[in-house]
């Protein structure tokens, strides 16, 4: 509790600066996890005849406060090749190493003036992380995001070129996360963040609501079969529609903006997510991402959400965005200094 309390108190102040870190190092790549396999093995040998719970109105119950923190990276390290799963022993050793990796805070370095997330935040070393034997969140033999199509590479290059040399001109020149508009964990697909990977799912009749702590946006997913928004209405987090397939909530999201740019995507990004409670403590989250303007083929991943005590705290990112002020005023000060020379 004391950790969580401290983390909240400092969350607003931290928000902006951490945005910068997220930009440099995509959050999804920092973290990870899986245990569906264990559940499947249990199911196979018949030792666990487990019936997932239902809500009072008879829908599969995926409610609760969950963490999707993970020690496994989104993309498989190249030296692991096509090895999709560790043995249990290898996974334990990998997790132990990942959890004990501490931030290096050498005097006079960037780390020295930046917040130490083990001290001021709730990074993955301090939170509950689902056990997994996966070697990457991306499933399949490749385990990596497919290469960008040539047109997508050109689009990405153009996006970067327009801002080159103007990175600190004004707020619009900074990234969406640093501006507290959209964080990479929010998705969809919802991926683990470097810290505060907490979310709460609430089910009302006809709707599923997902509130992510970072940065407090709520996804409200209607399950009443209504069509998507008209195609010319775009949203940063797209437009989600859900339906139930057996014990699984399936969510289809389209209508993204070009600015969402999920790993280079266009506004044609299409995400399908599947939420399944696979044991009393776990919701298995699977996603498939496609965008014919960006990748030759779709790609899929799996993240385990594990039950935590909560509560979810308010992440008032924009309200505490001192980092934006400091970055811009720092850049103006630098300019004034060079003008004097």
């Amino acid at each position: 509790m004391s950790n969580r309390f401290f983390q909240l108190a400092s969350a607003s102040a931290l928000a902006a600066v951490i945005g910068i870190v997220s930009l440099a190092q995509p959050a999804a790549a920092q973290t990870p996890s899986t245990k569906l396999l264990a559940a499947k093995e249990g199911a196979k040998d018949g030792t666990r005849a487990w019936t997932p719970p239902r809500t009072p109105d008879g829908k599969p119950d995926i409610t609760g406060i969950h963490s999707n923190a993970s020690v496994v990276p989104l993309e498989r390290p190249k030296d692991l090749g096509a090895k999709e799963f560790f043995t249990k022993e290898e996974a334990d050793a990998y997790e132990k190493a990942a959890m004990s990796r501490h931030e290096v805070v050498a005097p006079g370095t960037y780390g020295d003036v930046h917040y130490n997330m083990q001290q001021f935040g709730l990074e993955k070393g301090q939170t509950k992380v689902a056990e997994t034997i996966r070697t990457s969140l991306i499933v399949g033999p490749e385990g990596r995001v497919p290469a960008l199509l040539p047109a997508a590479q050109a689009r990405q290059a153009a996006r970067q070129a327009v801002n080159k040399g103007h990175e600190f001109d004004g707020p619009e020149n900074r990234g969406l996360s640093e501006r507290c508009i959209l964080w990479p964990n929010e998705g969809p697909p919802m991926l683990p963040e470097g810290y505060n990977s907490n979310l709460q799912i609430v089910q009302g009749e006809g709707y599923v609501a997902i509130m992510q702590e970072t940065i407090h946006d709520v996804r409200i997913i209607p399950t009443d079969g209504r069509p998507h928004l008209p195609p010319d209405v775009h949203q940063l987090m797209g437009d989600s529609r859900g339906h139930w397939e057996g014990n699984t909530l399936v969510v289809d999201t389209t209508n993204f903006t070009d600015r969402t740019a999920f790993r280079g995507s266009s506004e044609n990004l299409h995400v399908v997510e599947r939420f399944t409670r696979t044991d009393p403590e776990t919701v298995t989250y699977q996603f498939t991402v496609s965008d014919p303007s960006t990748w030759e083929k779709s790609w899929s991943g799996e993240v385990l959400m594990t039950k935590i005590d909560g509560p979810i705290f308010e992440y008032a990112c924009h309200e505490g965005n001192y980092g934006m002020h400091n970055n811009l005023s720092g850049a103006r000060a630098e300019e004034a200094k060079s003008a004097k020379k």
């Binding site: 509790m1 969580r4 309390f5 909240l8 108190a9 809500t55 009072p56 109105d57 008879g58 409610t63 327009v162 801002n163 080159k164 040399g165 103007h166 990175e167 600190f168 001109d169 004004g170 707020p171 619009e172 020149n173 501006r179 507290c180 508009i181 959209l182 709460q200 609430v202 089910q203 009302g204 009749e205 006809g206 709707y207 599923v208 609501a209 509130m211 407090h216 946006d217 709520v218 409200i220 209607p222 209504r226 928004l229 949203q235 940063l236 987090m237 509560p311 979810i312 705290f313 308010e314 008032a316 924009h318 309200e319 934006m324 002020h325 811009l328 005023s329 850049a331 103006r332 300019e335």
Partner: protein
């Protein structure tokens, strides 16, 4: 008939429809699920006010301030004398000092009467209220009430049922939000008790008691109906207003002339 009208005006609006029984959720609670919105001008000023010019003459009639009869019971806000001065100062600076122009989280009760819809997603243990404005959100824990662990913009909400009425006790609110665009304000001692009472299939009565001994000499009340969005395609859309407020907040820090994207 006249007598009856007077009598009716004196009793709380929610009690007028005591005969109405709300539909139930599958677990037997009054069903508040839905997309709701206030239809009044309290966000401009919670007290009665005449129409007035808006902040920017170039925006002409579009951004004029719409009139309204107010939501404050008795129309009087019992400010302590020094605090009444502070309210006047806020009013003078309202077009730049109101947290809403900066796209900051709106706090409670203001979130409920902004000119944007909000959605109640109700489960047995948790009632989530998602607001279109700024993606604001609060969760109401229906279990044993717990103290606020720390102050926040949207506060700490503990709920329980009294008959058909959802009663929410809100504490842990910070001192940075206002009640409206007219500069009505509070301190971090704010304590709000909200009552949501179904009054017909598509309306709720919303009442809130406001208590803040640092700012007001006594508790006071607001009340208003909330209306359901009955259109089939009703849905909360993104209103991520940060980027609309960046010029106001960071404009003085821009490089001139501006380049890049």
């Amino acid at each position: 008939m006249v007598l009856l009208a007077i009598f009716t005006a004196a009793i709380p609006a929610a009690a007028q429809n005591a005969a109405y029984r709300a539909p139930r959720t599958a677990d037997g609670k009054p069903d508040l699920n839905g997309i709701w919105q206030a239809l009044n001008t309290a966000d401009w000023d919670i007290q009665a006010h005449a129409a007035a010019a808006g902040p920017a003459p170039m925006l002409a009639a579009d951004f004029a301030i719409p009139p309204g009869t107010g939501i404050v019971e008795g129309n009087e806000i019992p400010y302590l004398p020094a605090m009444a001065e502070k309210k006047k100062e806020n009013f003078q600076n309202r077009f730049t000092a109101d947290p809403e122009v900066k796209c900051y989280l709106p706090g409670v009760p203001r979130a409920n009467y902004m000119p944007y819809p909000f959605q109640i997603v109700q489960s047995a243990k948790t009632i989530l209220i998602s607001y279109e404005y700024a993606g604001a959100v609060r969760t109401i824990d229906m279990g044993k009430p717990t103290p606020a662990p720390v102050d926040s913009w949207m506060g700490w909400s503990s709920g329980h049922w009294e008959g058909d009425t959802l009663v929410v006790d809100v504490t842990g609110l910070n001192n940075k939000t206002w009640f409206d665009r007219a500069g009505n304000f509070h301190s971090d001692a704010l304590h709000v008790v909200e009552r949501y009472t179904p009054r017909s299939a598509d309306t709720l009565m919303y009442e809130a008691t406001i208590e803040d001994p640092k700012v007001f000499s006594r508790p006071w009340k607001i009340s208003m109906p909330l209306y359901r969005h009955v259109e089939k395609n009703a849905q909360l859309l993104e209103f991520k207003c940060v980027e609309f407020a960046e010029e106001l907040i960071y404009g003085n820090l821009r490089k001139q002339p501006k380049g890049g994207k």
